[in-house]
């Protein structure tokens, strides 16, 4: 029996190098966990068992011939919006239910080159729009700490895969908090890197100026290893950034900023108490804590829910039932087929966002909504730039409360959108952010995880890894 609970990338690497277990044995152990738990939790939409075992055999060969790297033989789950050639990538949407990827995303290509084992594709909110996986066309994923509750989203499947020991690490994507909020709800680490640091080539687009692929792991060290394996300039994505685009800030002793005013945005008192404890812990670890102000950050959620739907409405125009994906035969002309295909293929949240995006970009309204949102986006970015002149990191809770119940917020989209309040700014400003577990609260006899989030200047992932490891005692 392999102790999956306490397994990390480095431990697995050492064990495979020393012959304690093989990559095939490790993969089989994860496949066994998935078989045991997937029916109840609805985490994987599909398990690539045969291909995974083949990759594991290849990894074992690399351990024998000495060409193994840290990611070789590491079992990884990928979110259902990341293309893996020859395999279905549906973005948990009916419109792509049978779409088979014709090429590898850059992230998958890098995983393959490193010799990682891709276990399967995980459930998510349709096209990554949501914070609970309740918007998946293939059913909700359940929170392993309380199966009446959501796991968070949109990368809920990838997050639970890691939390239930159904994968050692996982890839999610983060447009407004989709790696970090579910990590907080499931007691794991969720990381959103600097915009452009990991290629979006082969990531099914949602909001192109906000999207990034991110690691979901049990430890900060694992998130760093996965980030190092995935990052880099990519000719297939012109928004990827060279190492020197942002000058990396140097600091010998990290100062952490706390935006006290921002914390009053409807946070559960138990989370505030936990946050204060976390601040004390960081002080004890030797960090200086400083109050800061971010005057425009309160507009983050409104700005986000203008810019992201605008980009969604244009990105999702490509799903027309002609080139690939669902096609519904409706009438005697092409237009009727479009209406029907998209009417049946998209779920309610996707339709809402396409309509809002169409509205905020339409000629009578784009100055008041889209253009104004772009201006405020810059003001929020300026807020952070200014704050990072006096501090190196910014600390907030990751969410306003613990995991909520399935169905609890489904009838009120605005309430659902407010889940992004602490995670959204990192996407709006393109900054890196790391969510780590910070404790538990008890509800109805169940212990539910909660977390805190650190943000850093562009390209200063190193600050996040340093403080995150110290905080989690790694």
């Amino acid at each position: 029996m392999i102790d999956l609970r306490n397994l990390t990338i480095k431990k697995a690497h050492e064990a495979m190098k020393n012959g304690e277990f093989t990559a095939v044995e490790l993969t089989q152990e994860y496949l066994r966990q998935i078989r045991e738990k997937n029916d109840e939790l609805n985490v994987y939409l599909e398990v690539f068992e045969a291909d995974a075992l083949k990759q594991a055999e290849e990894a074992d060969r690399r351990f024998k011939d000495g060409s193994a790297v840290l990611m070789t033989g590491i079992p990884v789950a990928i979110k259902d919006n990341i293309l893996y050639e020859g395999h279905i990538a549906s973005a948990s949407s009916k419109i792509l239910e049978n779409y088979r990827a014709t090429y590898d995303s850059t992230a998958v290509k890098k995983l393959k080159e490193a010799g990682a084992v891709i276990l399967g594709r995980t459930n998510m909110d349709e096209f990554a729009m949501g914070v609970s996986t309740e918007n998946s066309a293939f059913g909700v994923t359940k929170n392993p700490f309380d199966t009446n509750r959501v796991p968070g989203g949109s990368s809920g499947g990838s997050t639970v895969a890691v939390a239930m020991d159904g994968a050692l690490v996982a890839l999610g994507s983060d447009t407004g908090g989709s790696c970090r909020q579910p990590a907080a709800f499931c007691g794991v680490v969720g990381f959103k890197p600097t915009y452009g640091s990991i290629s979006r080539h082969g990531l099914i687009a949602m909001g192109s100026s906000l999207d990034i692929i991110g690691p979901i792991t049990k430890t900060v060290t694992d998130a760093e290893i996965l980030f190092d394996a995935l990052k880099g300039l990519d000719p297939m994505d012109s928004t990827t950034i060279p190492e020197n685009l942002y000058k990396r800030k140097e600091s010998s002793k990290l100062v952490i900023g706390v935006p006290r005013e921002f914390l009053k945005m409807g946070v559960d008192e138990r989370l505030l108490a936990n946050f204060d404890e976390s601040v004390e812990k960081l002080k004890a670890l030797g960090y200086e804590i400083k109050d800061i102000e971010l005057p425009y950050v309160k507009y983050t959620v409104p700005v986000y829910y203008i810019i992201s739907p605008a980009e969604v409405s244009s990105n999702l125009a490509r799903f027309d039932g002609v080139k690939y994906g669902l096609h519904v035969d409706a009438g005697d002309n092409l237009l009727q087929d479009y209406y029907k295909t998209r009417g049946i293929g998209f779920g309610p949240e996707v339709k809402r966002r396409i309509l809002i995006g169409t509205y905020v970009l339409s000629s009578g309204y784009h100055d008041a909504f889209y253009n104004k949102a772009m201006i405020v986006r810059n003001l929020i970015t300026e807020d952070y730039k200014k704050a990072f002149e006096s501090v190196d990191l910014i600390l907030t809770p990751t969410t306003t409360g613990p995991a909520f119940k399935i169905g609890e917020k489904l009838s009120d989209p605005v309430k659902m959108y407010l889940e992004d309040i602490f995670t959204g700014p990192a996407n709006i400003a393109g900054l890196p952010a790391l969510a780590v577990p910070s404790g538990f609260v008890e509800e109805e006899g169940k212990k539910l995880p909660i977390g805190i989030q650190f943000m850093a200047p562009h390209n200063n992932e190193n600050f996040l890894f340093e403080v995150g490891k110290k905080f989690l005692n790694e």
Partner: protein, 93 residues
């Protein structure tokens, strides 16, 4: 206040068919969301400043693959095809 007529128009522009019952809920939701995001009009300050720090990333406009290299692969996903073409219904009236 957004009306169901306006939602119908938006849905037409976005090429999405929306049923009667769906229309009612969508109108209510979209109205609430637009009301909420509309608060950005209150954002004052240096709001005339809108200079994103972006630059173009260009590449040579050249063909990088052999003719027909990906044709079969891509058409394999097509709902309807005829030879190497995508097949659609008539477009004009």
């Amino acid at each position: 206040m957004i009306t169901s007529e306006e939602i119908k128009k938006l849905a037409e522009l976005a090429r999405i068919e929306i049923g009667e019952t769906e229309m009612e809920k969508l109108t209510k939701d979209v109205d609430a969301i637009l009301g909420y995001v509309g608060q950005i009009k209150d954002a004052t300050g240096n709001v005339s400043k809108n200079v994103p720090l972006l630059s173009n990333v260009m590449r040579e406009d050249v063909v990088t693959n052999k003719e027909g290299e990906y044709t079969e692969k891509l058409l394999h996903n097509a709902p309807k095809r005829e030879g190497a073409y995508l097949k659609v219904k008539k477009i004009l009236g």
